[in-house]
């Protein structure tokens, strides 16, 4: 047992970002969440279950457990924040909120190492704090990936010394062209049905720029003008999930200022994590008098692209794709936004496409934002389980709808030496549209390098 020295004890939660005791108290510890929790299914330990974590929070709130107790800190970090528990909770405990608040308490009260502080400043403030800086860094990364320097760095052992070996291996290939929110406008083809903004985000606008391009094509083909509204920032989800709500609030305010416009029918998001965050801006800013109402107005217009397409209906008929695919549900789509039917409706709308459901499709793949970098053991246990389930379907293509999951699956497949392509669902739809006129598009895609 590790005891916390008397001098550094912290009793209870404090400040604005304290977990709501009313929410904690809503848990009647029925245990229905247990089998939905990825970390419980790996460990089968109560402390690593949602109910166990809520009990630990309650114990801290009641002063029975120290805030800085290692068990509490470990469990708040081991949780993926996938929110599968929230979706099955009969009592309506908003687990994500109390977890994020608990992490904020830890960030505020726990002494941080110099290295952790450095990474936090570098990652959350410098890189993700402004998208121009983020994209400039991505340009640099592209140069690095294509130059002999990469080989030198990899061989030098400096990555291992910095503990970045795993992170470096996870990096996606950065393409030449980015989708930058510069005010560009893509007019609707066919009959015009409305005007939407595409939320560009961070990694979606660089490494996954091709997914943005596919999204724009599918939307315009279905009668929507698409605007790349300038001034948009990172959604702030990584900040909020990592116990930095203030940084998240800054970004939220800037996004509200950029995106609130009476001339937009919807804000379209194709990254599940960002979509969930934007929809939760009202909660994030509920104490901010000048932004709370504006956050509610914006959130009401936010739609995941798959949700939006099913809500408004496809007007263009997709062509046939003779592929066998399986669908991996992003947690923040299935659990945080409760979007489970729409992706399947869209896949079934594609002629000749065979969807084979995998076992445990809604169990987290272990990506969870930057979780795979912080908790590599748990992340890789979940990744292997996910890949086993996905590959057992005999799918030729694994379909998902969130950059984190796609990165994770691609890295896992690479490590297994498999060349199974991982596509965003909107890319599959885009290919189906192309296939309607260009038969060559029906060929199976190749896996990303």
């Amino acid at each position: 047992m590790v005891t916390v020295p008397e001098s550094t004890r912290v009793r209870g939660f404090s400040g604005r970002d304290a977990p709501s005791f009313d929410l904690i108290r809503k848990c009647v510890h029925c245990g229905f969440c247990l089998p939905s929790c990825p970390t419980y299914r790996i460990t089968w330990r109560e402390r690593s279950s949602p109910r166990g974590r809520i009990w630990l929070m309650k114990s801290v709130a009641e002063g029975r457990l120290d805030l800085l107790d290692p068990v509490f800190a470990e469990e708040m970090q081991l949780c993926l924040n996938c929110r599968a528990c929230e979706a099955v909770c009969p009592s309506g405990v908003h687990y994500g909120q109390i977890l994020e608040a608990s992490r904020a308490q830890l960030v505020q009260h726990r002494p941080q190492s110099l290295r952790e502080r450095l990474y936090r400043v570098l990652g959350f403030r410098i890189l993700l704090g402004d998208m121009r800086r983020f994209r400039a860094a991505n340009k640099l990364l592209r140069w690095y990936q294509r130059s002999p320097v990469r080989m030198l760095v990899r061989r030098s052992g400096v990555l291992r010394a910095l503990g970045l070996e795993h992170a470096e291996a996870m990096l996606p290939t950065i393409p030449e062209r980015f989708v930058v929110p510069d005010g560009r406008f893509f007019p609707a083809e066919n009959e015009r049905r409305g005007r939407v903004a595409l939320f560009t985000g961070c990694v979606m606008s660089t490494a996954y720029a091709h997914v943005h391009e596919a999204t724009i094509r599918v939307l315009t083909r279905n009668g929507f003008d698409v605007v790349l509204v300038s001034g948009q920032q990172c959604c702030g989800a990584l900040h909020v999930h990592s116990g930095e709500p203030e940084l998240g609030r800054d970004l939220a305010r800037r996004n509200i200022e950029a995106l609130e416009s009476p001339y937009l029918d919807a804000i379209i998001v194709n990254a599940a994590g960002c979509g969930a965050m934007l929809k939760e801006y009202p909660q994030l800013l509920n104490h901010d008098h000048s932004y709370a109402e504006r956050a509610r107005a914006l959130a009401a217009k936010v739609r995941d692209v798959l949700e939006f397409l099913v809500e408004r209906g496809l007007t263009a008929q997709p062509g046939a794709l003779p592929w066998t695919v399986t669908y991996q549900e992003p947690c923040h789509l299935a659990h945080a936004q409760r979007i489970t039917q729409q992706p399947r409706v869209l896949l079934r709308a594609i002629p000749q496409l065979r969807l084979v459901e995998m076992a445990e499709s809604a169990l987290c793949c272990g990506s969870a934002g930057i979780y795979n970098l912080l908790q590599p053991d748990m992340a890789s246990a979940l990744l292997e389980r996910k890949l086993d389930n996905a590959l057992a379907t005999g799918a030729e293509v694994i379909v998902s709808a969130n950059p984190g999951c796609m990165l994770q699956l691609e890295a896992g497949l690479r490590a297994r030496g498999l060349r199974v392509p991982v596509l965003h669902l909107i890319e599959v739809l885009d290919r189906a549209y192309t296939a309607a006129t260009v038969p060559a598009a029906r060929a199976l895609p190749v896996a990303a390098e």
Binding site: M1, V28, G31, F32, S49, G92, V93
Partner: protein, 486 residues
């Protein structure tokens, strides 16, 4: 042996990954799904997560050697405090023993480990055309081992019977660490029916390490019907009418207004919010018979003033209605921070009068009571809602529930239908059983577990521990002979 030495021995048995002994991580084993107000906070000294029956047996032997209590635990979804370590000791969590070892369709059984999740067993059997019939509302989370311990029921037990009807045999670690098999795949085995004794013994007689379950064929057709009534009484009369008409539904469930509200807030399952009560009736069997019976049940409901009768059209609709029903207890958190479950069973004909009494008591004690229950077999679940932080409320809850129980026993009912006695309800046992009855139970307990180390403080009321029973017997004998007991 001191704590450190016991710890070393446990580590040898289950390895570092299988042992939890930091008091702070043991915090999360001081609860199950019952309300903490009644059991208080009791941490075990150690928690082990064995992977094999051999490990369970070795842990039990060690506990015996050092005289520590042993408490088995599954998913911790029990509602009577049965999995709590009231006297400390070693908590044996069986969730890692979760393999389905054998499915034998020809002889109609499967052998599973106790940590297999109830619903996941049925899901695994489904492609072969079978299911495991007992379906407690917590089936998404609860384990087969826990079902065996509590002799669990569930909505479908009206037609299919409770857990004991579906257990063919058990591998059990006895309190001395020996492992035995009871029962078997054939319908009748000679000798004492130890399987029958062990099912429902709540871990006080042994720890089940393998379960031989009966496979039940999936019905050809299923239909789920929802009927909305103005009040509980009319729904109760409809229930009696359905059973009297000779229709045996697979399930016949009732939910009152308060429960409907909580469940609808949780899952938008499609229950009419305005209803005073609803009946959820599932009919299964051959297609033609199901169709005919659905019509008859609908007609009977209408005759007893149902103002809406709806048949679920798709599997999704059926599943959603059941999700609502089965999440009802958990959804109570939306109505109040605490609830106390009364799990009493009354003869079906006494349902309307009992519900009236529950309503009276709710008013008398100023406590909201939500009702969701297995109307078909008269197993009530009044859920008494409260907030433990409000002064005096806990005491009122205890008085009120005692009154409910007393009434139910008076009309010929009993204490618990399916959720077990555990710690929470043990002192109510004297309401239903005589001293002689309880002595017989204690005698059985003593023959299995003379040192009283297996799940102590459970099931038998205070005063009925093994040692105390001998005294009670003598007292009873003395009384019968008209002697003064000294």
């Amino acid at each position: 042996m001191d704590r450190a030495a016991i710890r070393t021995r446990l580590l040898e048995i289950v390895g570092p990954d299988g042992l939890l002994d930091d008091p702070d991580e043991l915090l999360v084993y001081e609860y199950d799904a019952s309300d903490e107000v009644f059991a208080g906070h009791h941490r075990p000294d150690f928690t082990v997560l064995p992977r094999t029956a051999e490990q369970v047996s070795a842990v039990v032997r060690l506990a015996n050697e050092v005289g520590l209590p042993v408490i088995p635990r599954g998913a911790g979804t029990g509602l009577a405090g049965g999995a709590l370590a009231l006297r400390g000791g070693i908590l044996i969590v069986l969730t890692r023993m979760n393999r389905i070892l054998e499915v034998n369709e020809r002889d109609g059984y499967a052998i599973v480990e106790p940590g297999v999740i109830n619903l996941e067993l049925s899901t695994a059997l489904q492609p072969r055309g079978y299911f495991f019939a007992p379906d407690p509302a917590s089936q998404r989370a609860c384990t087969i081992g826990g079902n065996v311990g509590n002799n669990s029921g569930g909505p479908h037990c009206l037609k299919y019977g409770v857990t004991t009807n579906h257990i063919l045999g058990l591998e059990v670690v006895l309190p001395d660490g020996e492992r035995i098999w009871t029962g078997g795949p054939v319908p009748e085995t000679p000798g004492v029916d130890l399987t029958g004794v062990l099912v429902g013994s709540e871990g006080t007689l042994g720890i089940v390490t393998k379960v031989m379950v009966r496979l039940t064929r999936l019905p050809e057709a299923v239909s789920v019907l929802l009927a909305a009534f103005p009040d509980i009484e009319s729904a109760s009369h409809a229930t009696s009418a359905i059973i009297a008409a000779g229709v045996l539904p697979a399930a016949l469930e009732m939910m009152d207004h308060l429960t409907i509200k909580a469940v609808e807030d949780a899952f938008h399952a499609g229950y009419p919010r305005e209803a005073g009560a609803v009946l959820l009736v599932e009919l299964d069997g051959l297609q033609e018979i199901v169709a005919e019976n659905t019509g008859r049940v609908a007609e009977l409901c209408r005759q007893h003033s149902a103002w809406e009768v709806r048949v679920a059209r798709t599997k999704e609709e059926r599943d959603l209605l059941w999700l609502g029903r089965k999440s009802a207890f958990g959804a109570m958190g939306r109505l109040a921070p605490n609830y106390y479950l009364v799990d009493t069973t009354v003869p079906r004909t006494k349902l309307p009068a009992t519900m009236r009494r529950v309503e009276e008591l709710s008013r008398e004690y100023r406590l909201s009571i939500a009702n969701v229950f297995h109307a078909g077999d008269g197993n009530l679940h009044p859920l008494v809602l409260f907030d433990r932080h409000r002064p005096g409320e806990v005491e009122r809850v205890l008085e009120c529930t005692t009154e409910i129980l007393r009434y139910c026993v008076d009309v010929g009912g009993t204490l618990s239908g399916e959720h077990g006695i555990g710690f929470e309800k043990r002192d109510y046992m004297t309401l239903v059983f005589t001293t002689e009855d309880l002595c017989a139970m204690a005698g059985l307990k003593r023959s299995f577990d003379p040192r009283e180390l297996f799940n102590p403080e459970k099931v038998l009321p205070t005063g009925f521990r093994c040692g105390e029973v001998a005294v009670l017997r003598q007292q009873a004998l003395a009384q019968r002979l008209g002697l003064e007991y000294v």
